[in-house]
Symmetry: C2
Subunit: 218 residues, 2 copies
């Protein structure tokens, strides 16, 4: 199956964006993004965290301090909504009304399982490190038992999930096309700067290959 199922919650209601349930489209957006937002109910009111995420197959992973209220709420299987949003451009139409943004987004509904075994936690955390800096996991010391205990790793199935993509030039009302207003798109992009070595490095360590001309997805 190359498509996720459409549900009452993921069915597209608006039309100026393009909805997609295609696995490849969903995965590409998740893999390019560094940060997601996770909404959950806490003490009877909406709460939210922003956190890094990573994906393996049809699963999305988050991690955090085992002491945090969000990790505790989500570990308990609280229903969650996860959004990943990549902003691509500001779309300047002739009318204020037709202004919009270009973006690629994914929304996931689900509840987490907290990984329990040290081995499965390690495997998941390595996949996270491999997303960001492949090869670095092997350079570092292994996590300690204490560190693994202090880290909650959450696993979500990608089951109720959809992507939305808005792209291209402004779409104006026919009557506005001749208006004497510049129209078009101002692209927005994420870029990575020059790596800044830690001031407390005690020896000469060359910049690792995985940080040269950095990009994501790799």
């Amino acid at each position: 199956m190359n498509e996720y199922p459409v549900t009452a919650r993921t069915r597209l209601r608006r039309f100026h964006e393009k909805g997609s349930f295609d696995r490849g489209v969903v995965h590409a957006i998740l893999d390019e993004a560094l940060v997601c937002h996770v909404a959950f109910q806490h003490d009877g009111a909406p709460a939210m965290i922003a956190t890094a995420h990573w994906r393996a197959g049809d699963r999305l992973y988050l991690h955090g301090s085992s002491a945090s209220r969000a990790m505790r709420a989500l570990s308990g299987g609280a229903p969650a909504c996860i959004a990943v949003t990549l902003l691509d451009g500001l779309v300047l139409a002739r009318s204020g009304f037709n202004h919009s943004v270009n973006y690629r987004s994914v929304v996931i509904y689900g509840a987490a399982r907290a990984l329990t075994g040290d081995r499965e936690k390690m495997k998941a955390l390595k996949a996270f490190q491999d997303k960001i800096t492949p090869g670095r996991w092997e350079e570092m010391r292994a996590p300690t038992v204490q560190e693994l205990k202090a880290t909650t790793v959450l696993e979500f199935d990608l089951k109720e999930v959809s992507a939305k993509i808005a792209e291209g030039p402004p779409e104006d009302d026919p009557g506005d096309i001749d208006a004497p207003v510049w129209a078009g798109v101002l692209p927005v992009r994420r870029v990575f700067g020059t790596p800044e070595p830690a001031p407390d490095m005690t020896r000469e360590i060359p910049l690792p290959d995985y940080l040269r001309n950095y990009r994501l997805p790799r």
Copy 2:
């Protein structure tokens, strides 16, 4: 008062980040960001939208189609949590455990009022346009009655709000400092590209000043 009050929900629980209730700090993050995430409860489960936002004084504004389920739920005063997150860097420590990200974020708890009068809607929408492209509002035709009706504008008081900032180099365990692993920060930045004119422009219109060397906040 230059600080927002601390509440049970906004009190900082973690310590590797720096919490702030300073108005100026909160406002600067909101004004630099183009997009926020809004969490609310819908049909008994967490739901979320990503949308553009703008600020005027101690109020945050969102807008959207009056037909959208999110605008309808939020217009009704549903409790909401709004997060704005600016990612500034990937922090590569010597151990996996001490990896982190540098960021500036704001979280707002509250419920919206939907603006009702055309005049207050217009004023708010002009403030939005002025955030993104000051001067453009005056270049465009005015919104029609129909367009204003189709647009919901939501106003949130900044009352229960806090900022968090994580910045600087990695903080490693003393025993890890001598590890033969490159450590430091990979900066992440948002940049604006070269404006792309709409293919359907029917006349020569020079690029407006507000799009030259674009940056935000302006």
